[in-house]
Amino acid sequence: MNRYLSQYRENEEPILGWGFIVLFLLVWEFIPHVVTLPKGLALFFTTPYHIGAKLVEMSTSSEVAFHFYVSATEFVIGLGLSIAVALPVGLVMGRFNTLNAMFDPFVTAFNATPRLVFLPLVVLWFGFGIWSTVVIVFIGALFPLLINTYEGVKNIDRVLVNVVRSFGANEWQLMKIVVLPNSLPYIIAGLRLAIGRAILGVVVGEFFGSDQGIGYLMAAAAGNYIVDVVFAGLILFMAISLVMTMAVKKLEDRLSRWRPEQVKTF
């Protein structure tokens, strides 16, 4: 008995986390057996079992695989482009006040505008399909990354800059040796935000501006009252978000090995 208890203590967090998910699914599964749902809700209700079955069925369908591939491509290209643009622009804006003064109003205005506003224009310009969604993903992910990178650069330790300068470093070396490593925690935090925005971009773009992708599949299924598929798509998106967030966490751990470990306090 004691042994089980100590094993539980060691793994308390995952046990509680997973346990609660299982409990949640069980309750959900049994709701229709216990409660009589109002007619409107009952018609479009589904249970974890049905969703699971749908997911299994979908995973063998080549059509679904195609839609998944489209969504993943949009996500990767859009996010990749935003990283490629946000990092250099953020670094440069942080280092040169003139450029910052030029770009700042633009960045602030764009960032404060909801992404959805651009969709009609983007669809007109890039057509109904994958590229409109890529652009929406790009716009969504760009600004959190850009703003965080900028903040990271602004938060530079003056002493470290002086140290590296005193050894005759040029601006490029200064970026590489001090500015970039110093900004990394900010950039990682920005990346985490950007991933959320990018997934949102995929969903929004496919809901309204595409005839391909998992988001389109969900919108189409909802139009035909096929609730299982809607939920299955939702779970797919949740799973992708989770995996990506964990990947960033891993990256962060790798890059911050030099940091003091968190000291446990009371």
């Binding site: 002493v159 470290l160 002086n162 140290v163 590296v164 300068r165 005193s166 050894f167 005759g168 470093a169 070396q173 040796i177 001090v178 490593p181 030099w258 940091r259 003091p260």
Partner: protein, 258 residues
Amino acid sequence: MEPYIRSTDITLTFTPKNRDAVTALKDFRIELNSGEFVSIVGPSGCGKSTFLNVLLGLLKPDKGEMEIGGKKITGPGVERAMVFQEFGLLPWRTVLANVELGPELKGESVASRRPRAQELINLVGLTGFEGHFPHELSGGMKQRVGLARALATDPEVLLMDEPFAALDAQTRDLMQAELLQIWDKHKKTVLFVTHSIEEAAYLSDRVIVMTKRPGRTKRIIKINLPRPRGYEMRLSPEFNDIKLDIWNNLKDELNARE
């Protein structure tokens, strides 16, 4: 003999945004001989650190020029290196990588800079800590890294900006003694800024007392005590006389705060 480092009257004024202009240095003049150990003491904010940064080549004076070995200073150079008060170690680099910073920026290959870095790490007594990160070191150890890093480019001049101010008293005594040994062995010219009269008197050939802001030279005191200097010397009456002399010059500046 021509002094190794000399300046014309240096004046430097800071004009921060939305603040009154501050004249940190006014007609400050200095001459240093090669291999000499000189300390600067003065009240807080008298421009001691500012002057070091001018000499290091990070700040441009409004008026006046500095010369080193007959060459005008226009920016940082390999013949000068600074030991910083707050250590200034790159926290994401190991001890070894921190020490190698200067040679690396000079474009030296790993093969040529590594043995020298290792030698300096041994010299400052950090053998075995090459792979440690700064946060894993004590204050004294961090400043040993700072010293090794400054020596890594084999500079002629060591600039030290209150390098031991953040250390506890015993570590400080120890580091002072070790600095003297290293100085004696490597024959560097040292310009040492400090708040501690005792530290200045113990280490230096000459002590420059600065006025309050805007900083100028008030007096230069020659320390005619024999070397090598041991800890016992710090308890001798001659040493106390020197300390008193420095103090008497300094105290008016401290009282005359605006």
